[in-house]
Structures are given as structure tokens and as C-alpha cells.
């Protein structure tokens, strides 16, 4: 399908035509921060944003999610499964790093013998409208993890902000059928395509943070017990800002909440974090990750060593949220520098 043009003034029209069919999620301002919420009015959409505080991951994998509810009827227990999983979801205006995170999440929830039906069903029913990132931040590094500020592949429909209009491209079949519903979109001109390409190039050039992750993975694999971990974890206060704002963190905890006075209850899952003292605490009381050093190491190893060996890709999309979120400024760029220093030093020894 040929590329289309959407006028910025027509976002309202797009919303009103699609909200009947889809649960429409979009970036909107909540208490001063951008968040992806189900909106009820096109005015709420904030497309001129850097990136959301909490990633749109929480649309498909919310911080708290009911797996099923149950109630007692006499001696019987009636399980009530989720009924909303067939709803069609539209996640509008997602940055490309976050759009790519949906692929990583899918890899995780679909891997091995246990398929996560809840996530996968929602993923299947979700259409993602991505938006090119015209001005990446200093903390962004998507090109180092195989992404790009204009990487279209992880979206169904791709928008690029040309100023007064958006260039609209259908990327997947889902995207094509969605665009068919918006027959009023005008055709794009050659100049629009050129402009979009130009913006993509500018965005790529604006990225200043770059890492050689092949080398990082190699160094990590060889240095699990290296004293550098002591140094890295020293100033960490063990808060979970980095993991709770991460678009690729998938750990969760399952809890049964029993409301015995009302003969009912629910099984829920909530986000867990490897920075928590409960994370790998065993029933015996033993914890294989008893201190900050093991917890900090786990986060880095998981993203940049375990992911490459388990899924053949990095477990990071380069959004830089952990960099800006760390309250003690113990940020990823410094951590990676310290890890790479190990290699530099050992190189010096060899050449000496």
C-alpha cells in the first residue's frame, strides 16, 4: 500500500473512527508524566513527547493483573476466567524502542513449554502504531542494540512527524487493514518520503551514546566473579526504579488474594524485581542473591549476557530510562564503561 498523509488536526477524526473498534491507548499526561493510558477523548493525546515515564509495556503486561477470579458456591469452587482478552487493543504513538520491546516480551512469554496465554492473546489482539523519534535524548542508545529511532519493523503502522502532518505507512497486514478503515487519508508525495528519510538520518546522527555490546557480552561472560561488581554495586541503594521503568523487564510474582468473608478471591500477578530482597528468597530462608552486589550483577547479566545466550538478542532496547531514573546516578553508561575497562586492562597486560 502506498504511503499516506495524516494532518495533525485530523488526529481527532482518527481517534473517533478507531475507538469504536479498539481500546485506544495513547501517550497522555498523568500528574506531569507521560503515560500510556486508555483515553476517552482525542484531546488527551500528547504526541509531542520525548518518551513515556513508564513504558507502554504496561498496556500488555500491567503492573498488577488478574489471572482469574474464583468464588465458592457451597462446596464448589467456580473459576472465572478473564473475559476481556478478546478485546482489540490499539497502542497509538509508541516510540520505536518501546515497539521493539514488544517483540522481546513476546519472545519471553512464548518461550519454552509454558506459553503465557494472557500476554500472548493480548499481543495478538494489539495493533501498534509507532512514531519515529525525531530528537533522541543523550541517554538514548537504540542503535547500539540493533534498533533505530525510525525502525519500522516492530510496528503495524508507522508514523513520522513531518511538522504539520504525519507520514503514515502500513508495515504489517494488521496495519494495512487498519489503514483501509481510514480511507480519507491523502496520498503522500515524494517530497514527504524524502523528508521522512532525512529526519531518520538526522535522528541517527543525533545519537551520541554508543556501545559495543558484542564486546560487553564477551567480557561479562568471562567476569562473573570480578571485583568490578563490588565497585558497580557500591552506590546502588537497591531501589527498583531501573527495573520498574524498564520496557523489557518481565519478572512477576503470583499472589492469591482470598476474600474469605465474601467467599471469593483472585489470583493476580504483580511486577517483581531482581533488586528486591524477596526476589530469589527460597522457602528455606536461603537467598542465592543475598546482597546488592548479586542483584546489580543479575540485572546487567540478564540483559547483556543471559538474553544473548537464551534468545540470541540483547535484552535491552536502548530507551535509556534506567540511565535517567537512577536516583544515585549509578547509570548504565558508567556501568558499561567499568565492565569494558576490565578488557582494556587485560589487553594492556598482554601487550606489556
Amino acid at each position: 500500500m502506498a504511503e499516506k498523509i495524516l494532518k495533525k488536526d485530523d488526529i481527532g477524526r482518527l481517534y473517533s473512527e478507531l475507538e469504536k473498534e479498539y481500546k485506544f491507548y495513547a501517550p497522555t499526561k498523568v500528574k506531569g508524566n507521560i503515560a500510556f493510558k486508555k483515553i476517552s477523548n482525542a484531546e488527551e493525546i500528547e504526541l509531542e513527547y520525548l518518551n513515556s515515564k513508564v513504558p507502554p509495556k504496561d498496556v500488555l503486561f500491567p503492573q498488577k493483573e488478574t489471572i482469574f477470579e474464583y468464588r465458592y458456591e457451597g462446596k464448589d469452587v467456580i473459576i472465572e476466567e478473564r473475559k476481556d482478552l478478546e478485546d482489540k487493543l490499539l497502542i497509538f504513538g509508541v516510540r520505536l524502542c518501546d515497539a521493539y520491546s514488544f517483540k522481546l516480551l513476546e519472545d519471553f512469554f512464548a518461550s519454552g513449554d509454558f506459553q503465557d496465554d494472557i500476554f500472548l492473546k493480548k499481543r495478538e489482539n494489539a495493533t501498534i502504531i509507532g512514531i519515529g523519534c525525531n530528537s533522541p535524548r543523550q541517554s538514548c542508545f537504540c542503535t547500539s542494540v540493533g534498533g533505530h529511532p525510525f525502525q519500522k519493523e516492530s510496528t503495524d503502522v508507522f508514523l513520522s512527524d513531518l511538522g504539520d502532518t504525519y507520514l503514515v505507512e502500513a508495515i504489517s497486514e494488521k496495519g494495512e487493514s487498519l489503514l483501509k478503515k481510514l480511507s480519507w487519508l491523502t496520498d503522500a508525495k515524494k517530497a514527504d518520503l524524502t523528508k521522512s528519510k532525512e529526519l531518520a538520518k538526522q535522528a541517527e546522527e543525533a545519537l551520541t551514546t554508543k556501545f559495543d555490546f558484542d564486546l560487553v557480552t564477551k567480557v561479562l561472560d568471562e567476569n562473573f566473579e570480578h571485583p568490578v561488581w563490588q565497585e558497580i554495586s557500591e552506590s546502588c541503594i537497591g531501589c527498583s526504579s531501573c527495573t520498574f521503568l524498564c520496557p523489557t523487564c518481565t519478572c512477576f510474582d503470583v499472589i492469591d488474594e482470598n476474600d474469605e468473608y465474601n467467599n471469593r478471591g483472585r489470583r493476580i500477578r504483580i511486577w517483581d524485581t531482581c533488586q528486591s530482597c524477596l526476589y530469589t528468597l527460597e522457602t528455606s530462608g536461603h537467598n542465592p542473591r543475598p546482597a546488592k552486589i548479586q542483584r546489580c550483577r543479575n540485572r546487567i547479566m540478564h540483559k547483556f549476557s543471559y538474553y544473548p545466550s537464551n534468545y540470541d538478542c540483547l535484552g535491552c532496547v536502548g530507551c535509556g530510562r534506567c540511565i535517567t531514573a537512577c536516583p544515585v546516578n549509578n547509570e548504565l553508561r558508567l556501568i558499561i564503561d567499568k565492565i569494558l575497562e576490565i578488557e582494556e586492562k587485560s589487553g594492556e597486560k598482554v601487550s606489556a
Binding site: 498523568v30 500528574k31 506531569g32 508524566n33 507521560i34 500528547e46 509531542e48 513527547y49 520525548l50 515515564k53 513508564v54 503492573q63 498488577k64 530528537s135 535524548r137 543523550q138 541517554s139 563490588q230 557500591e234 552506590s235 541503594i237 537497591g238 531501589c239 527498583s240 526504579s241 527495573t243 520498574f244 521503568l245 510474582d253 499472589i255 488474594e257 493476580i268 504483580i270 524485581t273 528486591s276 530482597c277 524477596l278 552486589i293 540511565i323 535517567t324 531514573a325 536516583p327 544515585v328 546516578n329 549509578n330 547509570e331 553508561r333 558508567l334
Partner: protein, 343 residues
């Protein structure tokens, strides 16, 4: 004290003095290590730094971005503060008033031995409310922060904005009465640098008058709204020097006392019960709010607690290592009427 200097000159002077003291302490081996602040890699942040050699002294800084309460790293001690052979090292702690208070209060709870630390006292001139600035700048990237006169200058691509420091200071700093660490008469050489003797702290609590004038229902509304975006990452707890429990009430799972979800009732229960544990212990450093990734302002709760403790028990935390905090100390004549009140 009359201030003629601009903020920048004032900061420079504090920084130079603290470096000089730190250098002397290391040189004369009065401390083994020093913990202080270092320039951050992001415009509105600083980094805690631990140094043990004179070479690194010039990394120590003071600016108005030093949010973290360094007492946090003493309870429990980070590994570098303990020598495998010698045991606990003597630690010099770069201390604004609230860091000094935290250390002294922790000593009253037997968590710190004051003989093993040196308070490097600095006359704190307040820290910036970074979340307020970030939110006012909105969806634009802040690339540079500097100080000119008494203004904080925030720059980014295609914008520059001035924020008067007096207004954009953290709310707790605006009403702070203990800017320099308190002197402890029992341990006269505990404090090096600028410390002060405090007798009776007079506080009018004018900053929470508006909150106090609300009805209980309005107060509940205010707190519920502020907390509604909490993700329960517990950064507030982890940054708090008084939150040192091995296992927090909210993490206890045999049995589970409190709901773990981000449903509003569970969020409120966490914050209010944590607040209860802070009564008479909070040293008003504001670290909890300044580290919150969602920018939640917990200062109202902290100030309200401080006010109650001051009015009912005439107690100010962190001034005297021998004074037991009111919630640890039972007296027959303790005021109890609050149990019957609605606020």
C-alpha cells in the same frame, strides 16, 4: 547572617572548605575513607562517591543537587567501610544539616557508633526541587544546568529557562532550621567543619498551614491523589536513612500483612504505615521525594509528622544521641489526646 554572595560563590566556598577539611582528615589519618558527592553525569543529578586517597579530593563537590542522604551508606555499612582485618573503618561523612541529624539519630537507635565517624559539616544552602523543574520544562530534554546569581539556569536544545533558587528549592529546605550538622557535646571532636549548637528549635510550620486547614476528607483526597501514581518501587524507602530494617513490614510474607498491588488502598497503606514508622525519626532530608521516579511529593506527610511530634512531645530528631525518640520512649505523662482526634 546576611548573604551578599551569589549562590555560585557560596557553593564554591562550601566546596573549597570541605575539600580542605577532607584533605587534612586523610593526611592526618583521622579517617580511613570519606563519603561525599561527586558531579553527576546528568544535568540535575549528583553521585555519591567514596574516596580514600588525597588524589581524589578534588572530585568532591558541593552544589545544590546533592540530594541523597549519605547516612544511608552507614546503616548497613557498605563493604568498603569495613576492613576484613581491622573491622569498621573510620568514615568521614560530608554532612549537610540533615545528614548530620540522620547520623546522630541513628546513634540514638544504636545503629551507629559515633566514635567511628567524623561529620564533615557544611553550611547547607538547600537543594533544588528537581522534579518540579523537570515537570515545568515538560517534554524537552534538559542538557545543562548552571547557576547565575541566585538563579538556576536550565538549558536544552532551543530553550533556556531561569528558575529563582529561593522558589525552586526543595520545600523542606525552605523551612529548614538545621542547615549545619548539630554539635554533640558528648563527642566534641565528632564534627569537623561547620557545625552548630542548637538548643530549642522553633518552628511555626507555616508551610503546612494550608494542608492543616483542610477537612479530614480533603486531606485524604490530597494524599490519595498524590500517591495514585506510585509504582511501589520503594525508592523512597531505600533512600531513607531511617529505613534500615532487615525485612520491611511490606516485604514480610509469612504471613503477608499487606496487599502488594498498586491498587490505591494498598499504595496508601504502604505509605501511611511507613510514615508511622517515621514519626520522631524523620530528619527532613527530603531524599524520599527527590528520588521518586514518579515525582511524588511526600514532604507534606513528613512535615505533618514532624509537627505532631514537636507539638505533642516537644521533640526534634537528630540533635542528641542520648535522647530517645518519643515512639521508643514511654512516659506516663505523654500526651494521648491525639488518639481521639480526627486529623
Amino acid at each position: 547572617m546576611v548573604k551578599f554572595m551569589g549562590l555560585e560563590t557560596e557553593n564554591k566556598e562550601i566546596e573549597n572548605n570541605l575539600r580542605e577539611i577532607a584533605r587534612e582528615l586523610l593526611k592526618e589519618k583521622k579517617v580511613d575513607v570519606i563519603i561525599g558527592y561527586k558531579k553527576g553525569t546528568l544535568p540535575l543529578l549528583s553521585q555519591p562517591i567514596i574516596i580514600d586517597s588525597e588524589e581524589d579530593i578534588d572530585k568532591l563537590i558541593w552544589n545544590n543537587l546533592c540530594y541523597v542522604n549519605l547516612a544511608k551508606y552507614l546503616v548497613p555499612r557498605v563493604p568498603r567501610f569495613v576492613d576484613p582485618e581491622k573491622g569498621n573503618l573510620t568514615v568521614g561523612v560530608v554532612s549537610k544539616g540533615c545528614v548530620g541529624r540522620a547520623l546522630i539519630h541513628l546513634a540514638s537507635e544504636n545503629k551507629i557508633n559515633l566514635d567511628e565517624i567524623k561529620i564533615i559539616g557544611i553550611p547547607c544552602n538547600g537543594v533544588v526541587n528537581r522534579q518540579r523543574i523537570e515537570m515545568e520544562i515538560g517534554e524537552k530534554e534538559i542538557l545543562e544546568v548552571s547557576v547565575l546569581g541566585n538563579n538556576i539556569i536550565v538549558k536544552g536544545k532551543n530553550f533556556e529557562k531561569e528558575f529563582p533558587f529561593d522558589e525552586y528549592m526543595n520545600d523542606l529546605c525552605k523551612v529548614c532550621k538545621i542547615r549545619k550538622p548539630p554539635l554533640v557535646s558528648k563527642v566534641p571532636d565528632l564534627c569537623v567543619g561547620e557545625c552548630e549548637e542548637y538548643s530549642n528549635i522553633v518552628d511555626e510550620f507555616t508551610d503546612i498551614e494550608e494542608f492543616d486547614s483542610k477537612t479530614p476528607k480533603e486531606k485524604w483526597q490530597h494524599i490519595s491523589e498524590a500517591l495514585s501514581v506510585c509504582t511501589r518501587c520503594y525508592a523512597c524507602r531505600e533512600a531513607c536513612p531511617m529505613c534500615y530494617c532487615n525485612l520491611c513490614f511490606v516485604d514480610q510474607n509469612k504471613p503477608v500483612w499487606f496487599g502488594k498491588t498498586t491498587d490505591l488502598p494498598d499504595i496508601i497503606v504502604y505509605h501511611l504505615i511507613r510514615a508511622m514508622h517515621m514519626a520522631g525519626r524523620c530528619v527532613a532530608c527530603g531524599a524520599c521525594s527527590l528520588v521518586c521516579p514518579m515525582g511524588i511529593d511526600l514532604n507534606i506527610i513528613n512535615r505533618k509528622l514532624e509537627k505532631i511530634v514537636k507539638e505533642r512531645f516537644d521533640f526534634t530528631s537528630g540533635l542528641d544521641p542520648d535522647a530517645l525518640p518519643p515512639m521508643v520512649n514511654f512516659k506516663m505523662e505523654d500526651a494521648q489526646e491525639f488518639m481521639l482526634e480526627e486529623d
